[in-house]
């Protein structure tokens, strides 16, 4: 079993190397990247905005309800919401959501192409199927930090609405807390890790789809396995990057 894991890790890095070899024709690549931008990024905005708004709101409510000490300033609700959303919720939580939405889409679409011999058809034509299929996804996922930026903004708006209109604190108190002890490096850290998560989100599901064997049942199985592994790797990398940049 351990040998199989080591083999898979090796195969994953070979796949990455092969992805950047023998590039597809530029005009076709441009079309594919635009297509992937639509499928992976634009189509995910709705769910990201929806979840971010309500999670932001819940963070504000939970923080407010757990501060019973009258000596703790209410502006801390805005501060806590900002810190939770920028540092962890937006980059990590949204990446996990994307692992479910985008990851399973990538695995099942590439897996179906494998099962129906479309990948073999590309290879027979002398096209580097990995470059054709995976490279546009990696490029499109470079826009993932943009999604994270939107998630941060909408999450804070959600926290503002729940905090201010829920009667937990005034708008001034929320805005004061929001600006308190702001460290720009933390935003850089959030975007840096979302960039790394984007690469994982594009490549790990592609790996599971590309190297799958079997029929349609196995496509479903590969999509589930891909979600589990993408989430595990994202959570591990989150710990690793945090340790690296903050300790």
């Amino acid at each position: 079993m351990l040998i199989n894991y080591i083999k898979s890790i090796g195969q994953y890095f070979i796949m990455i190397y092969e992805t950047f070899k023998r590039m597809t024709k530029t005009s076709e690549l441009r079309r594919l990247i635009l297509q992937e931008l639509d499928d992976l990024i634009v189509s995910s905005l709705g769910i990201v905005v929806f979840i971010s708004f309500f999670i932001g709101a819940v963070i504000a409510i939970q923080t407010a309800l757990n501060f019973s000490n009258p000596f703790v300033p209410k502006s801390l609700i805005g501060f806590a919401a900002r810190q939770s959303i920028i540092l962890e919720f937006a980059p990590t939580f949204v990446a996990i959501i994307m692992a479910g939405k985008v990851g399973s889409y990538i695995t099942s679409s590439i897996g179906t192409m494998r099962v129906s011999e479309q990948i073999d058809a590309l290879e027979v034509m002398g096209i580097n199927s990995l470059n054709y299929l995976v490279f546009p996804k990696i490029v499109a996922m470079c826009m993932f930090p943009f999604v994270i930026g939107i998630s941060m903004f909408v999450g804070i708006i959600g926290a503002y609405f729940a905090g201010v209109y829920g009667g937990f604190l005034s708008a001034e108190e929320f805005l004061t807390g929001l600006q308190e002890d702001f460290i720009p490096f933390q935003v850089f850290y959030a975007f840096l890790k979302s960039f790394i998560f984007a690469f994982i989100l594009a490549t790990v599901p592609s790996f599971h789809g590309y190297y799958m064997r079997g029929g349609s049942l196995e496509v479903g199985h590969a999509a589930t396995t891909s979600f589990v592994w993408t989430s595990v790797i994202i959570i591990f990398m989150n710990y690793f990057i945090t340790q690296l940049l903050f300790s």
């Binding site: 597809t24 024709k25 005009s27 076709e28 179906t112 129906s116 011999e117 479309q118 073999d120 058809a121 290879e123 027979v124 034509m125 002398g126 096209i127």
Partner: protein, 254 residues
């Protein structure tokens, strides 16, 4: 022309091909027949370069594939057309886009020339009016014909077909068989067809190779397949009562 010498391929302990020798001539429909699991698909994939054999030599027009440079390998792959068992059409593309795809990716033809060529090949497979349909919107027989159109659009020197008429009704299967044979003669290309459909064998088998457990057990054509006394082959070919009757009739000279 394709020549295969002592081709061996195994997966772990399982020997799939055990020293197969074969010769596929230009302008002829060459058939590989055999039971399921006899190694036909692996053999075809070795010819296509999708599977690397353990040993043996595959020659294209007298030159061994092993000795090809990277550039030559890429060049030879542009000279190959493949009709997959399930069609392998790209789901997200229309019929027209599927057929033009090899030209777009592998040639520097102008848009106008590409469109002209696509019209030509779609007309050749009698599908002139379905450019804008998606593969899911056309029948299985039409998908196979689109797949043939895509395989020949680049004017290949070698055409490979993996069970081109599986899952089709006998009439459509016969149309596909005849179309492949006509294209082979018309374009003077080397065609290798993988099949276990006996109708194809008797209709278009100009050169037939019978594989049995990874070994070439017989070679001949559609005329002398009736006369053979090879037990393994006759058991396979005449497994159906209909073909037993055909054989008896042929042997009686009726």
């Amino acid at each position: 022309m394709i020549k295969v010498k002592d081709l061996c391929k195994s997966f772990g302990d399982l020997d799939v091909l055990k020293g197969v020798n074969a010769e596929f001539e230009k302008g002829k429909t060459n058939l590989i027949i055999g039971q399921s699991g006899s190694g036909k698909t692996v053999f075809l994939k070795c010819l296509l370069g999708l599977i690397k054999p353990n040993s043996g030599v595959i020659e294209y027009n007298g030159k061994a594939y092993k000795s090809f440079s990277k550039e030559e390998k890429r060049e030879i792959s542009t000279q190959m057309g493949m009709v997959f068992q399930g069609g392998a059409l790209f789901d997200s593309m229309t019929v027209g886009e599927n057929v033009v795809f090899p030209l777009k990716m592998l040639t520097k033809m102008s848009r106008k020339d590409r469109e002209k060529r696509v019209d030509e090949v779609l007309d050749r497979v009698n599908l002139g009016d379905i450019h804008d349909k998606l593969p899911s919107e056309i029948s299985g027989g039409m998908q196979k014909r689109v797949s043939i159109a895509r395989a020949i659009v680049n004017r290949p020197n070698f055409l490979f077909c993996d069970e081109p008429n599986s899952g089709l009704d006998p009439r459509t299967a016969s149309v596909i068989d005849n179309l492949i044979q006509e294209i082979t003669h018309e374009y003077d290309i080397t065609t290798v067809i993988n099949t276990h459909d006996m109708n194809s064998v008797f209709e278009i088998g100009e050169n037939i190779i019978y594989l049995e457990n990874g070994i070439k057990a017989w070679e001949g054509n559609k005329d002398n397949i009736y006369k053979t006394d090879n037990k393994k082959l006759t058991d396979f070919v005449y497994a159906s009562n209909l073909f037993q009757k055909v054989r008896i009739t042929q042997r009686r000279g009726l």
